[in-house]
Subunit: 344 residues, 4 copies
Amino acid sequence: MKISFKNDYAEGAHPAILEALMRTNHLQQPGYGWDDYSVAAKELLREKIACPEAQIDFVSGGTQANMLVIAASLRAYESVIALETGHIADSETGAIEAVGHKIHLAPPINGKITPESIHTFATNYTNFPHQVKPRLVYLTNATELGTCYTLAELKAIYECCQAHDLLLYMDGARLGSALVSENNDLSWEDVARYTDVFYIGATKNGGLLGEAIVISHPDLQKGFEYHLKQRGALLAKGRVLGLQFLTLFENGLYEALARTANERMKAIKKAFAAKGIKFLTDSYTNQLFPILTHRQVAQLSAHFDFYEWKDIDESHRAIRLITSWATTEAQVGRLVEEIEKLAD
Amino acid sequence: MKISFKNDYAEGAHPAILEALMRTNHLQQPGYGWDDYSVAAKELLREKIACPEAQIDFVSGGTQANMLVIAASLRAYESVIALETGHIADSETGAIEAVGHKIHLAPPINGKITPESIHTFATNYTNFPHQVKPRLVYLTNATELGTCYTLAELKAIYECCQAHDLLLYMDGARLGSALVSENNDLSWEDVARYTDVFYIGATKNGGLLGEAIVISHPDLQKGFEYHLKQRGALLAKGRVLGLQFLTLFENGLYEALARTANERMKAIKKAFAAKGIKFLTDSYTNQLFPILTHRQVAQLSAHFDFYEWKDIDESHRAIRLITSWATTEAQVGRLVEEIEKLAD
Amino acid sequence: MKISFKNDYAEGAHPAILEALMRTNHLQQPGYGWDDYSVAAKELLREKIACPEAQIDFVSGGTQANMLVIAASLRAYESVIALETGHIADSETGAIEAVGHKIHLAPPINGKITPESIHTFATNYTNFPHQVKPRLVYLTNATELGTCYTLAELKAIYECCQAHDLLLYMDGARLGSALVSENNDLSWEDVARYTDVFYIGATKNGGLLGEAIVISHPDLQKGFEYHLKQRGALLAKGRVLGLQFLTLFENGLYEALARTANERMKAIKKAFAAKGIKFLTDSYTNQLFPILTHRQVAQLSAHFDFYEWKDIDESHRAIRLITSWATTEAQVGRLVEEIEKLAD
Amino acid sequence: MKISFKNDYAEGAHPAILEALMRTNHLQQPGYGWDDYSVAAKELLREKIACPEAQIDFVSGGTQANMLVIAASLRAYESVIALETGHIADSETGAIEAVGHKIHLAPPINGKITPESIHTFATNYTNFPHQVKPRLVYLTNATELGTCYTLAELKAIYECCQAHDLLLYMDGARLGSALVSENNDLSWEDVARYTDVFYIGATKNGGLLGEAIVISHPDLQKGFEYHLKQRGALLAKGRVLGLQFLTLFENGLYEALARTANERMKAIKKAFAAKGIKFLTDSYTNQLFPILTHRQVAQLSAHFDFYEWKDIDESHRAIRLITSWATTEAQVGRLVEEIEKLAD
């Protein structure tokens, strides 16, 4: 079988998580997120982000988190501003529209949304009551194109949102990878301070499944658990989620795993760069988008699994490679070997 | 801490499941349910129910399963017939109404729905186009009151549904407990044959989380995975669900665990009966509803956790006790000891 | 053709409305409810109900009004308390569930809802977050059974709602008939004061079509026009609705028409009573529910159209008769004649 | 007051409609569209479009028609392809998303959608089950930019839809203006044959309110009246809508009114052309989009009401002018007079 660089969820969980599940398995605990592990994990996360009033809930996946946060935050006539490449716009089977909300599509700049395009949507959609009212900005960090928001960028976006009475929501499916990226200057506190709500992804960073929704805006906290239950997101054995976050955040495991994922990709990036190969975006995380000739794509795909992202011109195509905490040095070594053999 | 008889999800998973997770943890697998374990588990289940054309999908919980099945099966103006005590009617925060459908409430007879009340709703709601059109019957087996449907009862209900062009959907959160109940005469094949769609619950019978939705009616299969994704039910690491069902069904573990749960309860039932205590329903599964005096309730609640179900008269209240595969003989022994001490 | 006592919308509009349409037909006016007639009609209504801060919008029909008010007022997990006989529960094709909300069904007492049953629902549905949260009480005045709420009854219900943090919404499809009923002691001001939102029906009292939604609770006013447009309720030629309400309320026409409808029914009621015939409810409006033998039903239905409401016992059935502003004395005379001939 | 060229719904109805309302006012008729006028009007329309199996329903407005048709036609995961300038995309407060469906936005070519962009969406959205499935193409004729589809264009679009298993839906808010346009070669039969469902607008062509939804595709007919009622679109006095369509289609009045609207605009267009003024699109209907200097816009807006559509460059802006059946020669004369005076 080919080695997969297709995604960061090809393996199971970090062993420490499975061990924690084993260790606590026979202890009786309350259901629905009232277990000791969930309670402790929430407390730990609130400290980490320095936001004691934050409400935190654990859910099973990213689409579920996005659907819940947006459905619970908006009135029926309010809309979302997101990137064309945003996960909610492109890869979630219309989950946001299915709960009733339009998404305005902004063009990505190095994979990122800008205050300028937010401003444009906020000022263009004002024909009351014939047009929806933009109310929430959705962004992903790290982005779907492997890039990250700097502190200055996030602050500028947040201030733009404040100026236009817009909520800011960060999809953190790969937040770990972003926050330990070599170019990153955002802290956990910054993320909480300069958003109204965000989620911390564990599925793609060591967990079996699980995302932690963190709501700092008080208006958005009200009744949120009702939404969880109504939309089928409240697990009977909430302990399964709580225990994973507790394990990941007790000893810095979360960041350590993300660091491994990024380092694996750094070695791959270096190999492509050495061949003079260009990239679709300027990425320093666990996602890389090298632009290859068709022949080069074929050479790599003989040995590895990955997504062919999009055509750049008649003879070139960007591919997407992803590493994870579980990617081994040996797997990277094999890939580098093949990169070095690529035809010009 | 008190011993809990509150539910069958107070512990983690059966150890065989955690071992399987450990064993397969580092193998790379495709995401979203295309992993080898899910594929094999589906095949195994299709054989077990003798329905090779069934479509099977794994989801995280019962409310999610119910919401998905009903939303995917009905047109906007179609409604559901269920019991007042049905899980969807009483305990899922309006999940069915939230996806647009009215539930007609039938009165339970020994915890069960009858062809008579189905017939009544089907024939009363005919004022086109001013009334919704009943289209799906929801029942739970074992029921929310611990009882089970016999083959004759299920066939009669299914035939009534066929006569009225109604779909029949069985919520099998505790299907294991029902099918191994001492009074049961339903087989796995019967369940598939005399319903249009049902689900097999693992959360309450040995799993960490997970329910297997089994769709035998071909019209309901179309596009079902789109619904899964759109409603946030498609796990990236679908292997977590597939592997659990594979483990539970490879060697009869699923039935063995349910049998343990039922046997534990049988001992408890015997102890109540020996004291001349009556029951709310005639249950032979892992749920029991003894009718106690207020003083008796207080005596037990000093030592154990359980739900106080409902008042029967001014001096009596039915409580709900639940056992599971993880309930130990020692825990049952403690409970029996206290039952024997109950005041008259 | 048989004379119809089936409903109060069998004819067109009161001639004064058609004349007003003629008279203003060629004047250019802004669309979407910004026309002079709508503006003036809203002002007139605000004065009539002595509630200068009320927001008023005109829509086309009762189901539309109910769906809009409830959808705009509730969060996803909030539910409605209504009568089993309530129009939203029985005759609107699940319109409320279609916008996501469960309806709890209370039993009618003389066609009316009571503080006791409101209290029961509000206190029973508290299993957070597994049950919906009751948030709005829906009642109809005059009721679907021809009865009316007294001031004392409405105040008691409103106070019960306030105590339980419930909104009170009155469906006024036949509000005119209620407020001019001989036993009524409610004023227009009372209706506005002791509800949070209500609507005034014109379709059944002289209009071609049209209901005026009156929102006194400030939180419910926010963004309401967005909902109107989004749900297809905002007419391009809003003038058609505004002009009708202006005509109906400028010179007391609305009350005069309702009075005619009630008086026509009073004559009919007297004829039934003279025969010793009993009624399903104690009605003093334009709806009457006499309880007849099957033979009597057949005798009347040979000459008149009406609904057969429900079976009372093996030999008796309640029918529903409705009069309107357009019912003539001659039509009533014919009916009285046949009532007098009824067999015992 | 300024003369308005802002829209085609500034006046009331054609007098023949008001006369018909007067004439039939006191006749008792069944409610909810079962009246004689509605029945006759549907029969008349079926003949006109030569489609005896078509199902026809009358509703109050265009947004309502669009929401109903699309909600009733699509499964939850299916999406709509429309123009960026499409009415559903830009001017209906997210009504389509509010009933759960994503709209893909295609760029307009002379105001029209092309088979090429339909093909692109149909072939790009295939990542099952992570992306919605395009299922319906929405187009407007005449378009929002005053242009019309030719027979060849409509056939090519319909064939593209058939090839991709897409439904084709035509919004006919201004269908009259399109079909009597001097360049039009589409017949009523063509419209029915080369679409699956369309609506005929009366609000903007002589009616008080009213659109006739015509469903030729048999699968889309099933249960449609349930949707009407559930979404608040079924008028108690359906006669009001039926009678208008009967009046408009009995003697060719519908086409005559549209012809008047177009002729009024033709005179205006000629005046602009004589000044050498260019147009945003090549329109032969009752909508015109001249491109003016800011000074010219100011000159006209001193005397007339109209929409300023969009900026073309730093010194030019397109405005939108609309005429209707009610626009008088005198009003056009005044406008032409001012056009002739426009600065260069």
